[in-house]
């Protein structure tokens, strides 16, 4: 088996005495789409924020492209090629759409290619090009998510993590966004981690899945091989 692009080993993290993520193991290969699904409060966001450097781990290790990135700061991790699209997109509301995108190419390596990457992002999201001068705060929820995805792409990542990208969006918009995520994955060979509560959609889009419950991975495997009964039991812990 080839060496994993992202390798999470026995990672734990929490808030004070409360342990939100408990000895989680996870592997993402190059070009793979992984879905991480689970109920509200199961620790998905904490896990991914810890991987991306927004939260400190209490134990365990994270390896990315053969180097140890455990507890590195978020800006160092992003410059290594791991980008997170945080929950709700978190665009810079007072800045224009184009400035938001250009912020994505802040890491030095990405900055050199920022012109070409920007063209590529506008090709992928033509709507963003039309709205490039508008402040991001005036965009709709779906448009903001696209701007956030575009911003993450500007860093030319090898692995993209989407934290509940479909939250609060209409089914048509979600479908559209998923179509583009798959396109990014196929054309750029970017690995993708989808964090979702919408299990059906996430499983359909991904190669393999991890189900998280109360801070632990309770089930994992190939997305195509799981039956709905096993899925439901693991998801709700019954």
């Amino acid at each position: 088996m080839s060496e994993a692009l992202l390798d999470i080993e026995n990672l734990s993290a929490g808030y004070g005495d409360f342990s939100a993520v408990n000895e989680v193991n996870m592997k993402v290969e190059k070009g793979q789409i992984i879905s991480l699904i689970g109920l509200n409060g199961s620790g998905k966001t904490t896990l991914i924020n810890t991987v991306a450097g927004l939260h400190r781990s209490s134990s365990g290790r994270v390896r990315f492209k053969d180097s140890d990135i455990t507890n590195l700061s978020a800006e160092k991790i992003v410059s290594k090629g791991l980008s997170l699209v945080p929950q709700g997109g978190r665009c810079f509301n007072r800045m224009s759409v184009q400035d938001n995108l250009l912020m994505g190419s802040f890491p030095k390596a990405a900055r050199k290619k920022s012109k070409e990457t920007l063209c590529r992002v506008y090709e992928l999201f033509p709507d963003l090009k039309e709205m490039r001068k508008r402040p991001a705060g005036t965009l709709s929820g779906g448009q903001r998510q696209m701007a956030a995805i575009g911003r993450a792409l500007m860093a030319c990542p090898d692995c993209l993590i989407f934290d509940e990208i479909s939250l609060g969006l209409s089914p048509a918009v979600i479908k559209d966004i998923y179509r583009r995520i798959i396109k990014i994955n196929q054309e750029e060979n970017t690995s993708v981690i989808l964090i979702e509560q919408d299990t059906q959609r996430a499983l359909k889009a991904s190669d393999s899945f991890y189900i998280m419950l109360k801070g632990k991975i309770v089930l994992s495997g190939k997305s195509s091989e799981i039956d709905s009964e096993t899925l439901r039991k693991a998801y709700f812990g019954i």
């Binding site: 450097g53 927004l54 978020a74 997170l84 994505g104 860093a155």
Partner: protein, 280 residues
């Protein structure tokens, strides 16, 4: 004509108040910190220019070439190694650090420069020029020019450079900025550097316009607060407008009612638009 004269004086003087507020608003808006030492930074800037100008035998304005980079560096190091560390423990410890810093600076300046009144004198301090019936102080024109150049340079820097964009992004959402590859602690340090550099410029201006003492910082801090709150925290254009309003209030109200009018204005803004004229 009298009205025009007041308007012109108010605007010219207001630019100095705007300059006092700019450093404060940067720290409010970007670092999300109330910097209680800002007034002392201004006074320190004034002393540096007061000492350097005769030492080098140059016009006081030229001393900015030394004081601005020096104060920028001090601000950068101060934030990176002291205030930034305190901020990790919460907003209150950081606030107390700036309070302690203001006391230390004030006492240090008292020890070094004594409690005597100081004033920065330039060859044109007393001259005026006549434009039609208007009589304008050359000093006011110089201060206005310094202020406009400084604030425009800062605005241009924030709008059109990579670092400026990173600063704006950090002010909007520091976590999202970090996820975009920005070293947030470094941005905070740059912001404090800019704030101190602006205090160097403001210090030169207030030192040329008024007499000052080591204990003058509190007064300047209060003015900065008023200007920043009226203009809207974190907004540079708002600070400019508020500075001019404050200046007009001083000129119209004179020594007796100037401050009264400003505080009534502050109250009015707080009631009508609590986030300030340009607040978001």
């Amino acid at each position: 004509m009298y009205f025009v004269q007041i308007l012109v004086n108010g605007i010219l003087l207001g630019s100095v108040y705007a300059l006092l507020g700019v450093g404060m608003t940067m720290i409010f808006g970007i670092v999300k910190l109330t910097n209680l030492a800002h007034g002392e930074f201004v006074v320190l800037g004034a002393y540096l220019s007061t000492v350097l100008a005769p030492m080098l035998g140059v016009d006081p304005v030229v001393t900015l070439i030394i004081t601005v980079p020096l104060m920028f560096l001090s601000g950068f190091l101060l934030q990176y190694f002291f205030i930034g560390k305190a901020m990790k423990k919460g907003a209150e410890p950081a606030l107390l650090v700036t309070f302690g810093l203001s006391i230390i600076l004030q006492d240090a300046m008292l020890m070094i420069f004594s409690a005597d009144a100081q004033h920065i004198v330039a060859s044109y301090s007393m001259s005026t020029i006549k434009i039609g019936e208007l009589e304008i102080s050359v000093l006011h024109l110089v201060l206005f020019a310094i202020s406009v150049v400084s604030i425009s340079t800062l605005t241009l820097f924030l709008r059109s450079t990579h670092t400026g964009r990173a600063i704006r992004a950090t002010a909007d959402d520091s976590d999202a900025a970090a996820l975009s590859g920005v070293n947030v602690n470094r941005v905070y340090a740059i912001a404090m550097g800019i704030a101190m550099a602006s205090a160097a410029v403001a210090g030169l201006c207030v030192g040329m316009k008024w007499t000052y003492y080591p204990s003058s910082g509190g007064g300047y801090l209060l003015i900065s607060f008023v200007v920043v709150v009226i203009g809207g925290m974190g907004s540079v254009p708002g600070t400019m407008i508020a500075g001019v309003l404050f200046g007009l209030a001083q000129v119209i109200g004179g020594a007796n009612y100037g401050l009264l009018i400003s505080y009534v204005m502050l109250l009015a803004v707080l009631v009508i638009k609590p986030k300030g004229i340009f607040g978001k």
